[in-house]
Each structure stands twice: as structure tokens, then as C-alpha cells.
């Protein structure tokens, strides 16, 4: 396949995973374009998080193909997928609580990723400047030396987003980035996301419809591991199938 001519950044085709016979994701296909913000919605248990797990290699697929810029992700190790340019944020904020905000960001800095690279890694000015820059973006420039454990829930979410940003991924996958945030934090996050999705592709899982409307280019509705509907927010909202299984209740 010719990379340059591919109009999609990500091609998911026939993706299936079964856990002891239960198919959490079943023959799923969808495509993501450059600079698109795709939001995946669906009721609980629809397989949303599993889809992200499959793309980033956390769960091994039973069948199907996931191509990112022409590379088959299903055959790659998690860290290789990251290096290919795919970043992933988890549902519950996962930051290193025993380390400071600075150290959290530093560990995500895309340098010194091998064992000996990590041993030889020096905290030079480029690194510091870059970390400072990201910290400003995620509203944490005042908390750089604080341990991550002492941050609020929303701040941890931002920190994790910052840890992804510093790697500058081409495809960013966010699992419920505003869950558990206050209204004010939520607003700030939406603003943040709008800024960072500008020059990359993003896949977001979200329940908050207002938030989805704010950011989505296209929406995919999952139900029982399959695509129920796909298109613009408006189209999806008016799809009777969607209304029945999801928005209806």
C-alpha cells in the first residue's frame, strides 16, 4: 500500500476480539482521516474502551487489521506503536503519583527510551524548555515540583494529556478525558482539546453529549461491539437506531 496516497491515517477493518467466546468487538471497521476528531459513543459495555485497547496493542485482537499510515499495528509491540505515533490516555487518570509533575513529563519526553539511553539521559535545557512549554499548555506550570499524588483529579487528567502531548503523536486516543471534572475544569479541558487536536487526528470516547458536540468532526456509535451508526453528530442524533438503543433511555 502506498503511504502517501492513503487518505486515511487509520484504517480499522474487520476487527474482532473474543473473550472466551464473548465477542466484545465484532467485525468492526472504521477509518480516520488526518486532522479528524472522531468521537466514539455508545452505551456501557458497547466495547468502546476495548477498541482503543486493540488499536494501541493493550489487548490482542482475534481477527482483523488495524493499519496506521500503512503499518499493521496488530503485529507491533505497544512501545513500537507509540513510537509509530499513536498516543493513548486511559480512562482513570494514570500518572506516576510518586514522582513530581516535572518528572512525569520528563519520562514521557521522546528521548532516552532504550535502557542505556535512559541511563545516559541528561536533563538539558531543551528538555526543560519543552517541559515548561507543555506545563503551560496544561495549566500546571505552577505545580512542576509538586508530587503528582497531590494534584486534583482534573489536574491529573491534564497531566496525562500533557504527557501525551510532549510526544507529539499523530494519532491521539483519549478515553473519557472530562470524566469526573468540575464544570469549570470541563470547560478548560474542552478549550485545551480544541487547541491540541488542531494539527493531529484524535479518537475520543465520551459520554457528555455537550462536550461531544463541541469537539467532534464525526461520531461513531458502537453497540454490542459493532458500528450502529456513523456520521456527523447531527446525523447520528437523528438516526432512529441510535435513539432506540442509546439516546432513548
Amino acid at each position: 500500500m502506498n503511504k502517501m496516497n492513503d487518505k486515511y491515517v487509520l484504517r480499522v477493518e474487520g476487527l474482532t476480539v473474543s473473550f472466551d467466546g464473548f465477542k466484545a468487538v465484532n467485525d468492526l471497521s472504521f477509518y480516520v482521516e488526518p486532522n479528524e476528531c472522531r468521537v466514539i459513543i455508545g452505551p456501557n459495555g458497547a466495547g468502546k474502551t476495548t477498541v482503543l485497547d486493540l488499536i494501541c496493542g493493550r489487548t490482542k485482537a482475534t481477527e482483523g487489521s488495524v493499519k496506521f499510515k500503512g503499518q499493521e499495528l496488530l503485529e507491533m509491540r505497544e512501545d513500537q506503536i507509540v513510537h509509530a505515533g499513536v498516543g493513548r490516555k486511559f480512562q482513570t487518570p494514570s500518572v506516576y503519583e510518586d514522582l513530581t509533575v516535572f518528572e512525569n513529563l520528563e519520562l514521557s519526553y521522546p528521548k532516552g527510551h532504550g535502557v542505556f539511553g535512559a541511563l545516559a539521559f541528561k536533563r538539558d535545557d531543551t528538555v526543560k524548555t519543552r517541559i515548561q512549554e507543555i506545563a503551560t499548555t496544561i495549566f500546571l506550570d505552577d505545580q512542576l515540583d509538586e508530587k503528582a499524588a497531590y494534584l486534583s483529579h482534573g489536574q491529573k487528567q491534564w497531566l496525562e494529556i500533557g504527557m501525551l502531548l510532549i510526544q507529539d503523536p499523530e494519532l491521539l486516543m483519549l478515553d473519557e478525558p472530562v470524566a469526573g471534572m468540575s464544570v469549570a475544569e470541563r470547560k478548560k479541558t474542552a478549550e485545551l482539546l480544541n487547541r491540541i487536536i488542531a494539527d493531529r487526528s484524535v479518537i475520543v470516547i465520551e459520554h457528555d453529549m455537550g462536550f461531544v458536540e463541541d469537539i467532534a468532526t464525526r461520531v461513531t456509535v458502537l453497540h454490542q461491539g459493532k458500528t450502529l451508526s456513523e456520521g456527523s453528530m447531527q446525523r447520528v442524533q437523528n438516526d432512529p437506531k441510535v435513539v432506540e438503543v442509546y439516546l432513548g433511555h
Binding site: R58, R77, S94, E97, D98, L107, G114, F121
Partner: protein
């Protein structure tokens, strides 16, 4: 923030105090016999330092460190045994020139894999390399398969059992349950004399500090922070683009290399190596040294090894029939009351008071020392 410095202020003080204890205090107050005993205890602290990195920082609990300690020790012992088994010394054997236990087991020639151990250079290399290669194989097999936690602990324990049975069963090649005994000289230098014991104690101390510096370097490097990050959020590290397994393999190999050095020094100071140091019981005891010291702290690991062994010797000399109560009680007390061990007591209780006494503002302790133990 002096991020690239090797030490924080309080760590510097800690290293200095330990150096005084090992090089000045102990030699000053102990006779040669006791000093040699402490030298033996210090060899265990090599293992405990490795465990502080693997387990405390990295969350990898190995119950098979005795394997690496033993391999290092056996490599050294093989060299020394060959040196002791000159044809003149072994003239009464049916095959002079091979180690006595081989002769007892009807071996008539030295096995090929003993041959390289005629060379000290090779033996010294093997002391580190054999445990590291062994750890590498185990590590690749286990960490690539994402075996961790309790499973890793129990599988390493099985390795300790396997190696012990193998060594005992292959006595023609290994000396069996007796081990490799009656080691005499190192390149003609008699290691059994009191002067030799003292020299070896200092060599041991210097090596210990070399290992401590290496461990400190790793801990203060980005790799050290990664280990802590991995312990707490392994997936996050993985999805930050790190190959988690290779870091675990590295730190496990490093711990194994440290243990190998400890084992070699043990052989030199005690004068023999035996399978009782390879098995499950010593492996668990080594974990306990580390736990008593405070599992995260490399200095604590040294004190832990010293304290537990000293307690063992003292209890058993004073109460030969009851000392196990004391030792068992000590382990339980440490786990229940001082989960952060000696280092925890120092950081939480003693250091703040000292600082208060000197009327200084409390300096931030190193992140590793403050963090809670791994689960």
C-alpha cells in the same frame, strides 16, 4: 533542583556515615574474627542492594537471588579449588591434579567446562557474567511474557529449588551437598590468614561502595525514575513508548550481577561455597535483609543485612535453643510496625529531629525514600 547531581544532601551524609562505619568504626571495635563475620554479612548486602533496586524501586520480587549469589560464589570457588588442587597437594588421589570430590566420584579428568577456571581473569569475568546471563535468560522468558508479582516470585523460588537439586545431584562436578571446600590460596596468597581476612574485608568494603555508587547512579538516572513509574503505572510507561520488559530485564540482571560479586566475596572470606547458600531459605532471608533495611533504600539494604545477621549470630550465641523466636519475631515486627524498615525509621523519626536540633529547614528527602512500599 539539582537533577543531574548524583546525591542529594542527605544521601551524601548517609553515604559518608556508612563509609565511616565500614572503614573506621567496625575495624576499630572488632577483633579479626568478628570483623571477618561482618565481612561475611556485608557480602549479603550486595544481594540486598540488588533487591532494593529490583523489588523496592522496580516492584520485581525475586525469591531466587540465592541462585545468583551461589553462581558467583561457585565461579570463584572453582578457580580457588583448581588452584588448591595441584598434583602435589592431591598426590594421594587416584587421579592427582583434579579436585578431591571429583576423584571421590571416579572422575578421571577435569570436565571441559572447568578448564577455563584455571584463569583468574576468566573466573572474575564469570563471577559477574554467569549470574547476569542466567538472569537475562530468566528475565527474557518471564518479562516478555509479562510474568510479574507473586508469580515471578514463586517461579524464581522454583529456580532456586532446581539449582540446589542439580548441584547436589551432580556431585562429581559440583561437590554436591558438601559444596566446594578447603580453598586455600588466591594466586599464591593464603586467604586463610588473619591478615588476608582483614585485607579481604577492606576489598569487600571497597567493592560494596562501588556497587552502591552504581546503584545510586541508576536510581538517580532517568532509568531509576522509570522503575518507580513502572512499579506504579506499568501501562502508562508502556504507552509512553517504553519497552517495559527490557527495563525489567536490565534491573534484574543488574541485581544478579551484584549478587554474583557478593557470592564471590563470600567464597573468598568464608573459604568455601555450598548449596545451602543457593536454596530457598537463604533466598528468602536475603529478601528479609532488604525488607528490614527498608526495601527502597540502598543504604538501608546494607544496614538491614548487617542488623539481621548480627541479630542472628547474637541471638543464637546467647540463646541457642530459643533464638528462632527472636528472629521470627523480628521479621513480623518489621513488617507489621515498620513497613519501611530501618530507612523508614531514619527518615520519619530520626532525621527530622536531627534537623530540628541543627535548626535547619527540613531539606526535601529523595523521592524514593518518601514513597510508600510497593504492593
Amino acid at each position: 533542583m539539582k537533577a543531574n547531581a548524583l546525591f542529594t544532601r542527605s544521601e551524601m551524609i548517609g553515604f559518608a556515615i556508612l563509609a565511616c562505619v565500614i572503614f573506621l568504626l567496625l575495624p576499630a571495635v572488632l577483633d579479626t574474627f568478628r570483623l571477618n563475620l561482618f565481612g561475611k554479612y556485608l557480602t549479603y548486602s550486595f544481594v540486598a542492594i540488588g533487591l532494593a533496586l529490583c523489588w523496592g524501586a522496580g516492584g520485581i520480587l525475586s525469591l531466587g537471588q540465592g541462585v545468583f549469589f551461589g553462581l558467583g560464589g561457585y565461579c570463584m570457588a572453582m578457580f580457588l579449588k583448581l588452584e588448591a588442587s595441584t598434583p602435589e597437594n592431591t598426590a594421594i588421589q587416584s587421579t592427582p591434579g583434579i579436585p578431591d570430590f571429583m576423584d571421590w566420584n571416579q572422575l578421571t579428568a577435569l570436565p571441559w567446562w572447568w578448564e577455563p577456571f584455571h584463569s583468574l581473569t576468566f573466573a572474575l569475568f564469570a563471577v559477574v557474567a554467569v549470574p547476569v546471563v542466567f538472569a537475562f535468560i530468566i528475565g527474557v522468558a518471564m518479562f516478555r511474557r509479562r510474568v510479574g508479582g507473586v508469580y515471578f516470585a514463586i517461579i524464581t523460588q522454583a529456580f532456586a529449588a532446581i539449582l540446589t537439586i542439580l548441584i547436589i545431584g551432580q556431585q562429581g562436578f559440583t561437590g554436591g551437598v558438601n559444596g566446594i571446600t578447603d580453598l586455600r590460596t588466591l594466586l599464591g596468597w593464603d586467604i586463610r590468614t588473619d591478615e588476608a581476612k582483614e585485607t579481604l574485608y577492606y576489598v569487600n568494603g571497597i567493592l560494596l561502595f562501588a556497587v552502591l555508587f552504581a546503584a545510586q547512579f541508576v536510581r538517580r538516572s532517568k532509568l531509576g525514575r522509570l522503575l518507580i513509574a513502572m512499579r506504579d503505572q506499568e501501562d502508562r510507561v508502556r504507552f509512553s513508548g517504553y519497552d517495559v520488559a527490557s527495563f525489567k530485564i536490565f534491573i534484574f540482571c543488574l541485581g544478579a550481577g551484584f549478587a554474583g560479586i557478593g557470592g564471590a566475596m563470600f567464597t573468598l572470606q568464608v573459604g568455601f561455597m555450598s548449596p545451602t547458600l543457593v536454596g530457598i531459605v537463604p533466598s528468602i532471608e536475603m529478601v528479609i535483609f532488604c525488607a528490614v533495611g527498608g526495601r527502597l533504600s540502598i543504604l538501608g539494604a546494607v544496614y538491614g543485612a548487617l542488623l539481621v545477621n548480627w541479630a542472628k549470630t547474637t541471638f543464637s550465641e546467647s540463646f541457642p535453643e530459643l533464638w528462632l523466636f527472636g528472629l521470627g519475631g523480628l521479621f513480623i515486627a518489621v513488617v507489621m510496625a515498620f513497613p519501611n524498615g530501618l530507612a523508614g525509621i531514619w527518615v520519619e523519626k530520626i532525621e527530622p529531629r536531627l534537623l530540628k536540633a541543627f535548626k535547619k529547614s527540613p531539606a526535601p528527602a529523595s523521592p524514593a525514600q518518601q514513597s510508600t512500599p510497593a504492593e
